[in-house]
Amino acid sequence: MTVKALQQLTTGRNGVGAFILQCKKMDIHYCDWAGSSRGMNGFIKSILPKFAAANPQIEFVVSPRPSKHPVVIGHYINGREKAICVRNLEPLQILKKVELLRDASGEKLRKVNKPVQSVNESVRGVWSPYHGNGMAV
């Protein structure tokens, strides 16, 4: 008749304890010939080595996509991916896009209405009609 145990599972919260960057891989596609890739080729030559060295958590794969616009595809830990077409962009503009992909969580974009989202229960507690002095009607 002693107390029995139920089975539960812990829930992880990224950033509490350890933080894992959610972008795990970035595919960078370019074309040698097409004019829309000119900025991308400059980005790969001049900016990408420094950016990749500063972000070792991300696996960078650079590969050609002949006769197509240049694309950056971010792959995320939750299994989703985000692709951004960077045609006709300057290298620094591409850097902005790549940083955006790096900082994204991989979740679908949605509007956040609440200032705080938490798995912890409220410190103050939920208001109860059965406690306190009651309401004067």
């Binding site: 304890g17 350890a18 990749a52 958590q57």
Partner: protein, 461 residues
């Protein structure tokens, strides 16, 4: 159309900077020599850790068989004739050269050669993502990714590392629970340890690290992928525990296992240690059914069985990573890693309790602790004659209110109140800053202040 230049498809070499191999300092546990001689291990585990059929498989004779590969590999690369091409599907290799030229011999190995770890971008990224110290070589992380079902040689799979990791995780979780919640009943402790360190939780941890799996194990796969085989799950026992002599009858006759005997005999989660050899016939049936798509549980994510195997393999990878941190960086680093990745997860312990006779148990508790006999009093109510009444009942011992509960009937509210009072007792915590025994292992630690030790849970009839 203008001539296009030879495409530049490459893994960027600077991603691997700073991750060169550094030999482990001190006790080289990761070679498995010390663990193979573990005292008190169950016979099945000892068998799995011992290199099998050494004479018949010369490559298992020592580590050097595969460790000496670099020279051979280079010579093989020079003679281009016997190079093993990964892509044999009519691709124009002049225009699209394969990323990595592999010698033909790699196909003969069950897992990638250790030195290939230095060239894997996935592995280097995983190493950086986990913020592992540079003391941990990429080769060890690569070894942590090889499950026993992919490579049964314990010198190349993660079974030894996972055993160390499992022991460390359960130790730290258990000591934290015991010091922070000294009154937890043992069954709840088992359940809580499983919630933190069980296969399901560690599977989620490994998934949250972004580790990808290889479609099938082999010598040619990227060392940065988790390698395991669904066809022949590993039989290596990674948990400590004794096989009960009456194990076969426990399920058949539903024999009772007392908590004390669970502490002595069973594994860290209070579960029976099953025999290491799986029932092969039934498994084959399941897999065949899965392949034909006959099994109702078959989905694009596999069957229940394959998911279970994958879950276990992921958990063992997480354990092996912690074992690797311990082997190369020591106790403190391993503890910090466990705190960061496992202890930081949330668990509401009050959800673990299931009471059968809460009022009786509470009465016994009060009798044991010399409190006044508990009395239930109705605090407030609404809608007694309606379809949805609510009663709020408090349980008092003398003038002290032990707990309170609300319910749709008087009895239910009383039971709820009793449960809440018992939880309040069991979940007593001396505070968040309690020290655990492993804090004393640091140099210049302050003298130990005795932890709160409870006389034990309420034993009722």
């Amino acid at each position: 159309m203008p001539k296009t230049a030879r495409p530049k498809t490459a893994v960027l070499a600077f991603q691997l900077a700073g991750c060169e191999y550094q030999p482990p300092a001190g006790d080289q546990t990761w070679t498995g020599q010390l663990l193979a001689a573990r005292p008190g291990a169950p016979p099945a585990s000892a068998g799995a850790l011992r290199p099998r059929c050494v004479a018949s498989r010369p490559r298992q004779l020592c580590l050097s068989a595969r460790r000496q590969q670099p020279q051979q590999q280079q010579s093989a690369q020079e003679t281009d004739a016997d190079t093993f091409d990964v892509l044999q599907d009519g691709t124009d290799h002049a225009r699209y050269p394969p990323l990595e030229r592999l010698p033909a011999s790699v196909a003969g190995y069950p897992s990638p050669l250790p030195e290939r770890a230095l060239k894997s971008a996935k592995l280097a990224a995983l190493h950086a993502r986990l913020s592992l110290p540079s003391k941990i070589p990429l080769q060890t992380l690569a070894r942590a990714l090889v499950d026993g079902s992919a490579d049964e040689n314990p010198q190349f799979n993660n079974s030894n590392l996972a055993f160390v990791g499992h022991t460390l995780i359960t130790y730290h979780v258990a000591e934290w629970l015991m010091c922070h919640y000294p009154r937890l009943p043992m069954s709840i402790v088992f359940s809580a340890v499983q919630a933190y360190a069980g296969d399901k939780a560690l599977h989620q941890v490994a998934r949250s690290w972004g580790v990808e799996t290889a479609a099938a194990p082999g010598g040619e796969v990227d060392p940065g992928l988790l390698q395991f085989s669904l066809d022949k799950p590993t039989t290596t026992v990674l948990k400590f525990g004794y096989k009960r002599t009456e194990a076969a009858y426990l399920e058949k006759f539903k024999w009772r296992r007392g908590i004390s005997s669970r502490v002595v005999f069973d594994d860290d989660f209070g579960g029976v240690v099953k025999s290491a050899e799986p029932e092969e016939e039934q498994e084959d049936d399941d897999l065949e059914e899965a392949e034909e798509g006959l099994s109702p549980s078959y989905t694009s994510y596999g069957t229940d069985k394959t998911r279970q195997i994958a879950e276990k393999v992921h958990a063992n990878f997480a354990r092996a990573t912690i074992g690797a941190v311990y082997a190369h960086c020591g106790r403190e680093a391993a503890k910090a890693f466990i705190n960061a990745h496992i202890m930081s997860r949330t668990l509401d312990l009050s959800n673990l309790f299931a009471f059968k006779h809460p009022t009786r148990e509470l009465a016994l508790l009060c009798a044991r602790e010399d409190f006044d006999h508990p009395v239930a009093r109705l605090l407030s109510e609404t809608g007694r004659m309606s379809r949805t009444p609510v009663f709020v009942v408090g349980i008092y011992s003398g003038t002290d209110k032990l707990g309170e509960g609300a319910g749709p009937s008087l009895d239910l509210a009383r039971f709820k109140a009793a449960m809440n009072s018992l939880k309040a007792w069991y979940l007593y915590s001396p505070g968040g800053n309690v020290r655990v025994p492993s804090d004393m292992l640091v140099e210049d630690a302050k003298p130990w202040e005795p932890a709160h030790i409870d006389i034990g849970e309420i034993i009722s009839r």
